[in-house]
């Protein structure tokens, strides 16, 4: 009897709220719903930008673990020299990464520069989050699993001036078909778009929008073929659209 009374009374103990008692950490954020950010890398191509555009800024989302702070804090991001082929100051400039006071997110901003050699081949920039006085490295490498996001400490930016396949082409095939560089360039000219925000929650383009882009391509291709004959891609295959 005394034992059971003690057990009952023990159940009345107030449990304290869990609190984050780890050091502040930072990591590259991988949104499950954003297919372009699911991977640990991104491709930036000047080939789909106007000829006059010589620089741009690539933004990669960064999040922190732990509470926000009342002051600005610095995330230490370093280039992994032995894995990178991009040359600092020539191909890119890595800007300081600051988590502003009272905020949980920020961006790693990399200024990319258009150089002649990018037309000949791709360069890679590997970066990694290292320890700083404000943040330790956070989530090392996790794959997003619906509905949870994932994270990583390393990130790769591939930089070129050559047409490169959009990372979400797998969801564009029903509108554009099999990828080829010639086809992609034609699509850019026909639609005026080079990035197709489609196939994930919050995407800017609807299914009907994509149907319209498909129609635009078909109409423009018919016009092209009526003047020039079939358009052949880099593999000698005739460009068509579904």
């Amino acid at each position: 009897m005394p034992l059971s009374a003690l057990l009952i009374l023990a159940s009345c103990k107030e449990e304290e709220l869990l609190k984050y008692d780890q050091p502040a950490m930072a990591y590259f954020y991988k949104d499950y719903f954003n297919v372009t950010a699911v991977n640990d890398s991104t491709v930036y191509s000047f080939a789909i930008r106007p000829d006059a555009q010589m620089t741009d800024t690539v933004k990669v989302p960064v999040r922190i673990m732990g509470p926000a702070a009342a002051v600005d804090r610095v995330v230490n991001i370093l280039v992994i020299a032995d894995s990178s082929t991009a040359v600092a100051a020539t191909h890119y400039e890595l800007l300081p990464v600051i988590v502003k006071a009272n905020e949980f997110t920020t961006f790693m901003e990399v200024v990319v520069k258009r150089t002649a050699d990018l037309k000949l081949g791709e360069v890679k920039l590997w970066v990694e989050i290292k320890e700083s006085p404000d943040f330790k490295p956070g989530i090392p490498a996790t794959t997003p699993t619906n509905p949870h996001a994932g994270g990583n400490l390393k990130y790769k930016i591939r930089l070129n001036d050559i047409l490169t396949q959009p990372s979400n082409w797998n969801v564009l095939t029903s509108f554009f078909g099999v990828y080829s560089k010639v086809k992609y360039l034609f699509i850019i000219q026909a639609t005026g778009l080079s990035v197709f925000s489609y196939g994930f929650s919050g995407a800017a383009l609807s299914y009907a929008d994509m149907n319209f882009l498909n129609d635009q391509c078909k109409v423009k291709l018919a016009q092209y073929e009526s003047i020039n004959g079939p358009l052949l891609d880099e593999n000698g295959v005739r460009v068509t659209f579904p």
């Binding site: 609807s206 299914y207 009907a208 929008d209 149907n211 319209f212 129609d215 109409v219 018919a222």
Partner: protein
């Protein structure tokens, strides 16, 4: 102890077994129930808001009980699951204020014999209307533009209902097309088409909701709207012979009419006549190639029909004639269409019929009738095809003709006074499936004496002639009418 228990269980089992042999002497006291019959003036009632709904009933009983009857009137939507049932009365005769939205409803009347508890029921169809919710929409030409007038199912007329809700703006001059008004996914689409403009208006009050260019990803330039069709989830706007399509069964998001499909054999100009069959999609007649095409509802692409056989009555891919009119005649799993042609010399008339899902052993062409004897059909402007007989109604001058297609002969079925101009003609088609008059009444708009607009109702007899060879109703007081279109209750 165990033996005693076993013996007792055995005795109980034997008694239960023998009990089943007991003979039922059947000494019951049967009595006839009180059979109640309920009658009323009509089973289909329209109530125009804000009027009250009134239903008077007559009740007869075969064996009235001593405790009397109880009554209950329950109103609920006719379409979909009746999740919103509302008791609106508990007396024998109903007089109830209706707070429901305009629409189709069912009204169940329950009569219970309080002595026996036996209940009887009668169901009524109720149409809750506003002045704009159902009826013929009439486009009238005014000085400087056009306005709309409604003729309701209870024959009330509400004039000039467009301009007050649109800042006193009129529709463009020459507005002459309100395509069939359909309801899909709970949305009733009302388009008003003018010679060089168009608009989508609210079904509730005709407020202009979207101007013509906003209906498209890339609007036709210049705009020349001709027709709009909606079948299941597939919309088509016909503009200057081109087909601007939209599917409604897509994931949520921006959705507008997309670009016209490419012509399989170059440029095309489709005649704006509705031919649709669920099995194959839309069918169009290209007036340039003088041939039919089919249009997929999957990707809206146009394609040719299968090659003709030597025994076919005609080749869908090579007609070589000028289309006058086309419409479906029989709707079902195998739709049958009639198309009417004149030859390129303009000295002969033809009717071709085809089916979209030929039974085994049959071909798509069903029949052809060359050399129709149909006065004025060459230049006729208005056509209506029967849905029950192989008859085509058309107008020429002040005369309505009926063409008996197999007999290849047309004859007048009604002649208006000399000088009457026929301005529009439509078949009455109410989307309410319970409406008995659907496809059995033709409405005609006229201009008489140069200024007097009228709308006539012509009920169709089983023979195809007009009942008693005349109209049943006429509505007057209109000006120059450009168009009439029936708007069903949403």
């Amino acid at each position: 102890m165990k033996n005693i228990l076993t013996s007792l269980l055995f005795v109980v089992a034997v008694l239960l077994f023998l009990g089943s042999c007991y003979k039922d002497e059947g000494n019951y006291d049967y009595t006839d129930i009180n059979n109640i019959s309920i009658t009323s003036d009509s089973n289909s009632i329209r109530v125009m808001l804000p009027d009250t709904l009134r239903v008077n009933t007559v009740i007869t009983q075969t064996k009235p009980g001593t405790e009397g009857l109880s009554f209950q009137w329950v109103l609920y939507p006719a379409i979909g699951a009746p999740t919103t049932r509302r008791t609106i009365g508990t007396d024998q005769n109903l007089k109830a204020i209706i707070t429901e939205e305009p629409g189709s409803y069912r009204l169940d009347f329950f009569v219970k014999d309080k002595q026996t508890g036996v209940e009887f029921q009668k169901t009524f169809s109720i149409s809750v209307l506003t002045k704009l919710s159902e009826g013929w929409v009439v486009v009238e030409e005014k000085a400087g533009g056009c306005d709309l007038t409604m003729i309701t199912p209870i024959d009330s007329i509400y004039r000039d209902v467009y301009s007050p809700t649109n800042g006193d703006q009129l529709l463009p001059l020459g507005t002459s097309r309100i395509p069939d008004i359909k309801t899909n996914r709970g949305i009733q689409s009302v388009y008003v088409l003018s010679p060089a403009d168009g608009q989508y208006v609210s079904t509730e009050n005709f407020l202009k909701v979207r101007p013509y260019p906003e209906l498209f990803y890339q609007a036709p330039n210049p705009p020349k709207p001709q027709e709009y069709f909606m079948n299941t989830d597939f919309e088509v706007m016909v503009d200057n012979g081109k087909l601007y399509n939209r599917a409604l069964n897509l994931p949520a998001g921006n959705n507008k009419l997309t670009l016209p499909p490419l012509g399989p054999a170059g440029d095309y100009y489709m005649a704006p006549f509705e031919m649709y069959a669920a099995a194959i999609g839309y069918i169009w007649y290209d007036t340039i190639g003088q041939r039919f095409y089919r249009q997929s509802t999957t990707n809206f692409e146009l394609s040719a029909f299968g090659s003709a056989q030597p025994t076919d009555l005609f080749d869908m891919n090579n007609i070589g004639k000028r289309l006058i009119y086309a419409e479906v005649n029989a709707v079902g799993a195998n739709n049958v269409f009639y198309s009417f042609f004149r030859n390129n010399n303009d000295d002969s008339l033809f009717a071709f019929s085809f089916q979209t899902s030929p039974p085994t052993g049959q071909r798509m062409p069903v029949a052809r009738y060359d050399g129709l004897d149909a006065p004025g059909m060459h230049t006729a402007k208005f056509f209506v095809l029967s849905r029950s007989l192989p008859h085509l109604y058309y107008t020429s001058g002040n005369v309505i003709y009926r063409l008996d297609i197999p007999a290849k002969t047309a004859a007048p079925v009604y002649t208006f006074p000399a000088g009457t101009e026929i301005r529009a003609m439509k078949m009455y088609r109410n989307l309410k499936t319970t409406d008995a008059n659907t496809n059995k009444m033709i409405a005609v708009a006229t201009l008489e004496g140069g200024t007097q607009g009228k709308v006539y109702y012509f009920p169709i007899a089983a023979t195809g002639n007009f009942t008693n060879n005349t109209y049943s109703k006429v509505f007057t007081g209109f000006g120059k009418i450009n168009e009439i279109t029936f708007k069903s209750l949403k």
